[in-house]
């Protein structure tokens, strides 16, 4: 059992449970999750292996109000969040609840199925319950304990989505309490299906807790190009659990761009279950002030001849704190695994912190696995090279800093999403005097 502290009966967690109005469809998931929280041993401290670098407790052991559905969310607000190219292929989750009326999937209606999660629990309830019963992550278990809504998406075998699908996860804030939302999204790609899916999280100015679960299943030879644009308010607590399973020859290519916030944590749990499956996961984070962003990644090679590539880049200024704790586990049957992990950190301040733990756990004997991390400042030789071409020092520094992030941003599979990530992240640097133009 992981080191933790039992949740006492008068804790904010139980206070929230007391006012939680459970829906019958979700009861099994809620109860399995609650039971798991008790089994896990309560709220994790710093000795918990999963939270070595993250002081999660103050952010989840805090008074919050589970919220299901927005009081108001205008079409104009939504429209501002929709990417060019997704105007007829976007779905809106507001405070944990799917809003078909605010969504528009007319461009891809014939190519996929979209249902409110509550209507799909007969099909997906069991897997959510099983996952809840097995998770070691308190944040995933909390999502399950309060889960009451979300989305179930399916792309049929052999279908290629003709437009990128955008999922907007919007949260509202309130002055008198901390709104907390717990949406879950299941996405199933049938055999040979192909899709580009972009998640954008955003919210009102102010504090809120967004704890979302994404359960992605890729069938045989399915392809998912996935991007996650985390653009929550700086006062928000953003927690996300992304589970992905890939069958034979399936390919998952994911990019996560994090603006960071008071607490941002993403947990990727990826399983390459079929022979020849491929994963590529990259991330870019730019932090300032006291912002935090943490990536906890577990990649399981469970079948032979799978490939995984991970590359995370962080740019840290002021007192920003990032971490990347990433383990690749190669199971005994996963011979001929090809895996690499790389974390690069660019430190712009002596007070910033970058924790890195790329590691391996290998139980097969014919594999190729690499892992590494770098922490550094801007390369002075590069600065001098640019200066010797007439570029002033401050512009040279700006160019090198922004270009550090650019390679990951460029991997975002949709142009407008990539531009949004660029503006969101590079904009932070420009505001700090790292503007190139």
């Amino acid at each position: 059992m992981a080191p933790g502290e039992p949740i006492v009966k008068d804790s904010p967690f139980f206070a929230a449970l007391d006012c939680f109005v459970q829906k019958a469809e979700f009861r099994a998931v809620n109860e399995a999750s609650l039971a798991r929280i008790m089994e896990i041993g309560g709220l994790p401290g710093r000795k918990h292996e999963m939270f070595t670098f993250v002081r999660i407790r103050p952010h989840i052991d805090t008074p919050f109000q589970p919220k299901f559905g927005v009081d108001s969310l205008s079409c104009n607000t939504v429209r501002r969040l929709v990417y060019h190219g997704c105007e007829k292929s976007f779905l809106v989750i507001g405070d944990g609840v799917f809003y078909p009326g605010l969504s528009d999937i007319s461009a891809v209606r014939e190519e996929l199925t979209v249902r409110p999660l509550i209507d799909a629990m007969t099909e997906v309830g069991q897997r959510l319950r099983d996952a809840a019963a097995a998770t070691n992550d308190i944040t995933a278990a909390m999502n399950g304990a309060f889960c009451s809504g979300g989305l179930a998406i399916g792309v049929k075998a052999g279908t290629k989505l003709s437009a990128p699908l955008q999922i907007i996860v919007y949260s509202t804030s309130a002055n008198e309490r901390l709104n907390a939302t717990f949406p879950a999204v299941t996405l199933d790609l049938g055999e040979g299906a192909k899709a580009v899916v972009i998640v954008k999280t955003a919210g009102e100015a102010g504090a809120y807790l967004s704890n979302a679960l994404f359960d992605l299943r890729l069938g045989v030879a399915a392809t998912l190009d996935w991007a996650f644009i985390q653009s929550d308010d700086a006062a928000a607590i953003h927690l996300a659990n992304i589970r992905m399973t890939a069958q034979k020859y399936a390919r998952f290519s994911g990019v996560t761009a994090c603006k960071g916030s008071r607490m941002t944590r993403q947990h990727h749990e990826c399983r390459l279950q079929g022979e020849g499956a491929e994963l590529s996961l990259s991330g870019v984070t730019i932090l300032e002030k006291k912002e935090e962003a943490h990536h906890y990644v577990r990649v399981h090679h469970e079948a032979p001849r799978c490939q995984s590539r991970q590359h995370f880049k962080n740019i840290l200024s002021d007192n920003g704190h990032s971490s990347v704790d990433s383990c690749v586990t190669v199971h005994p049957d996963a011979q001929l695994t090809d895996s690499n992990q790389l974390v690069n950190n660019l430190m712009l301040s002596p007070d910033a912190t970058a924790d890195n733990k790329p590691w391996l756990s290998i139980y097969a004997d014919d594999v190729k696995c690499t892992h590494g991390a770098t922490i550094g400042k801007i390369d002075e030789d590069q600065i001098f090279y640019l200066k010797s071409r007439g570029i002033p020092e401050e512009r040279a520094r700006a160019l090198l800093t922004t270009s550090f992030a650019q390679s990951v941003i460029a991997a975002i599979p949709q142009v407008d999403a990539a531009l949004d990530a660029r503006d969101m992240l590079i904009g932070k640097l420009e505001a700090k005097g790292f503007g190139v133009n």
Partner: protein, 248 residues
Amino acid sequence: MLEINRLRAGYGEAEILKGISLTVKPGEIHGIMGPNGHGKSTMSKILIGHPAYAVTGGGVTFNGKNLLEMPPEKRALEGMFLAYQYPVEIPGVNNAEFLRMAYNEKRKHEKLEPVDPLDFDELLNAKMKFLGMDSRFKERAVNEGFSGGEKKKNEILQMALLEPKVAILDEIDSGLDIDALKVVAEGVNKLAGPGNSLMIITHYPRILQYIKPHHVHVLIRGKIVRSGGMDLAEELETTGYDSYLKEK
């Protein structure tokens, strides 16, 4: 144009240049020859203002201005250029964007309007064609993954765009096969003219068969020990530097 007067300079505690004097006039091509480790590259780094090297004596004027007082970017904007022996790789920075930025800095210095990306693209295409370069170099990161020859060509491309008054080519021939050397040398020759000057730094006389210098200098132990014309380079081809190294 460039007047180097009894220049002494070093790296850390070591004095490497021990009193170099050299005058480079407009339109002249100077070959600076000498074995490795005797100060040729140090001289080039000093002239472009590398912070790792310290001037301990003498002076340099560039078009009548004190070069040593200028920061590196000012030297570049005034027309001083170094084609590096080992060009730095800059992952993530698009080559075309970098070139446009450098080009527009120069225009700004000359109080001209910046060129927009489309106009610059036309100019860049023309310069690349002029140097026989593949257009794919535009979209790659600066020097990242370039072969030795590609890096040298990219340096000459920058020279072609920035049109410096004095260009120092530091071992531009190193790492090049004979065909690449010819291409690079042809590019340099096309850029040489009455208004600008070249300093070809090399320890190997072959490059000077392709870029004919007006003056050749032998740099040994931080000093110019002999100056002459093209015949000096030809002499070095047969005699090498041994006789200079034996002299105390």
